[in-house]
């Protein structure tokens, strides 16, 4: 690296040095130890652990509930973003300000509150129990907790794009005789689709790894309502580090696949924002 690319601004050495040292301590060394530790596992042991029926069942529970919750969040997020961008009504600022609540509220607090509300003696649970629907300690409960934590992702992903969509196109489509639904479907939706998918995948990845808000409402019954992060936690409590690491590695791979898909759509979403500007 030649000296002149650093320019005249002082402080490169110290700022680079401090960043890299803290980064090493917090991220690089721990991740390396994960890699070192997993390289000591034999492939057959790894495969035996990650294909145990109970582990497979936990992946299934995690994937199905995360996916369902993210679909619900995608639909609700689209409606909420639309309402918050396009309409003016009293109380709008309060609704808008509330969206980030799942980030601000500790997950354990959300978890016990949702669980306590939805057990069959709880105020909401009793209501559903009349129709024979149990929420707490079932996959429905896990999905509810995941919907809670996923709310901000889709809304905040679509909002900026929706604000940038030019009205002229919609007006033109309208004048040319397109119906309201057709205008939305053909003109608005293609513009916001990348942001919608990006928000969906971010929520999906977050739900897959979520622990705090889910454990209290899940019931944690093996094969039925046990999520993958809880499997890792269980193995850790028995000090079975190889098993915990194997399950963690498969989950990391899932998360990276999801985030790779996200990165592809994210770059398209930002291309649309800058294209409109």
């Amino acid at each position: 690296m030649s000296k002149n690319t650093k320019g005249v601004i002082p402080g490169f050495g110290i700022s680079f040095g401090i960043s890299v040292s803290i980064l090493s301590l917090i991220v690089i060394i721990p991740l390396c130890s994960l890699i070192v530790f997993s390289s000591q596992l034999s492939i057959s042991d790894f495969w035996e652990i990650v294909t145990r029926p109970r582990v497979i069942a936990s992946y299934k529970v995690s994937l199905v509930t995360s996916f369902t919750a993210s679909v619900i969040n995608a639909v609700m997020g689209l409606i909420m973003a639309w309402v918050l961008v396009r309409y003016k009504f009293p109380g709008k600022r309060i609704l808008d300000g509330m969206i980030e609540l799942p980030f601000a509220l500790p997950t354990a607090v959300a978890g016990i509150s949702l669980a306590h509300l939805t057990v069959s003696e709880g105020p909401v649970g009793a209501l559903f129990a009349k129709f024979g629907i149990d929420i707490a300690y079932t996959n429905i409960g896990i999905t509810v907790a995941m919907v809670f934590i996923g709310i901000p992702f889709v809304v905040r992903s679509i909002q900026p794009v929706l604000e940038q969509v030019e009205n002229e196109y919609e007006e033109a489509a309208f004048i040319m005789g397109a119906g309201r639904f057709e205008t939305f479907y053909r003109v608005v939706l293609p513009e916001i689709r990348p942001a919608l998918i990006a928000g969906f995948t971010m929520a999906f990845a977050r739900c897959l790894g979520e622990y705090g808000s889910v454990v209290f409402i899940a019931g944690n019954k093996p094969y039925e309502t046990e999520i993958a992060p809880l499997m890792i936690m269980g193995e850790l409590q028995e000090f079975d580090y190889p098993a915990a690491t194997s399950v963690a590695l498969t989950m990391l791979v899932m998360a990276f696949v999801i985030l790779f898909i996200n990165a592809v759509f994210q770059s398209r979403a930002s291309a649309i924002i800058s294209g409109i500007r």
């Binding site: 700022s15 130890s33 609704l95 607090v109 604000e163 007006e171 622990y211």
Partner: protein, 273 residues
């Protein structure tokens, strides 16, 4: 030009939004406060002034302060390095900074257990020097720093990138030192973004549960932060106690949301990330 949606569509969509947010967000929040206060104020005060409760509040404050302090130092220096200079591996560095966002909190806990735990090659040395990291407070702090790692730098970097580096270059040519440039030129630009990052970081640090839960070892009165203490109470069927301690965190969450909205208004930063 009648581009407005018909009144009925508008009313239905606003209705759906309001009902959904009320049921999903407001109801759980109010329920915490309601359950905490239902048995009476005295029970509530007894629960939150319990010896273990006070200790968990104290530990949460310490952990949050330390995590925020590390992230402030890291966030400012990293933002400076990444936006004022070009060097090889810059993209890689910023990818690594964002990485903790994509890792499950349980896995975050796991990697620290693998790094400092009994089977690690570091363990004999740590043991010899009498340093306890996992199942102790340092581990909790490390895990909290990990999960909040990108929060401050990610807020500052876009602002600095947008601002460019002409002003700093001019100041440097006129002979200003690094610290003087930062204090007089850079910081005023990033003031609101920085505070916004600190708010986000404190919120997450205060409430982190999964990663901290892996590393705490659950020693009552020693390594329990508030979320962990809430879990213990809840699992011991002390619902009143659990909700009483939770209500403190609920109030904090509401304050954080208000601060967030005020700061967003100031910085006109519409983006969450």
């Amino acid at each position: 030009m009648n581009r407005e949606d018909p009144k009925i569509v508008k009313a239905v969509l606003i209705g759906i939004t309001t009902v959904f947010l009320t049921v999903m967000l407001v109801l759980p929040l109010i329920y915490v406060i309601y359950t905490a206060l239902r048995p009476g104020l005295e029970t509530f005060i007894a629960a939150v002034t319990d010896k273990y409760a006070l200790h968990s509040i104290y530990l949460t404050l310490i952990v949050t302060l330390m995590a925020v302090a590390v992230n402030i130092v890291f966030g400012l220096y990293t933002a400076w390095a990444l936006t004022k200079f070009s060097f090889r591996g810059k993209k890689f560095l910023s990818t690594l900074i964002d990485l903790p966002l994509t890792v499950s909190p349980i896995i975050a806990g796991l990697i620290f257990v693998l790094t400092f735990g009994r089977q690690s090659f570091l363990y004999p040395y740590l043991n010899e020097w009498g340093i306890k990291i996992i199942f102790a407070v340092p581990g909790i702090v490390l895990a909290t720093v990990f999960v909040t790692f990108p929060f401050i730098s990610r807020e500052i970097i876009p602002v600095l990138n947008a601002q460019g580096k002409d002003e700093e270059e001019a100041a440097a040519l006129m002979g200003a030192g690094a610290f003087q440039i930062f204090r007089q030129i850079t910081f005023p630009h990033i003031k609101w973004a920085f505070m916004y990052g600190v708010v986000l970081c404190s919120a997450r640090a205060m409430g982190e549960f999964g990663a901290v839960s892996v590393l705490s070892g659950h020693l009552r009165g020693k390594t329990n932060t508030m979320p962990l203490y809430i879990e213990i109470l809840y699992q011991g069927y002390d619902f009143t106690g659990a909700f009483a301690v939770s209500s403190i965190l609920v109030v904090m969450a509401i304050l954080i949301l208000i601060a967030r909205n005020l700061l967003e208004h100031r910085s006109k930063n519409k983006f969450l990330k």
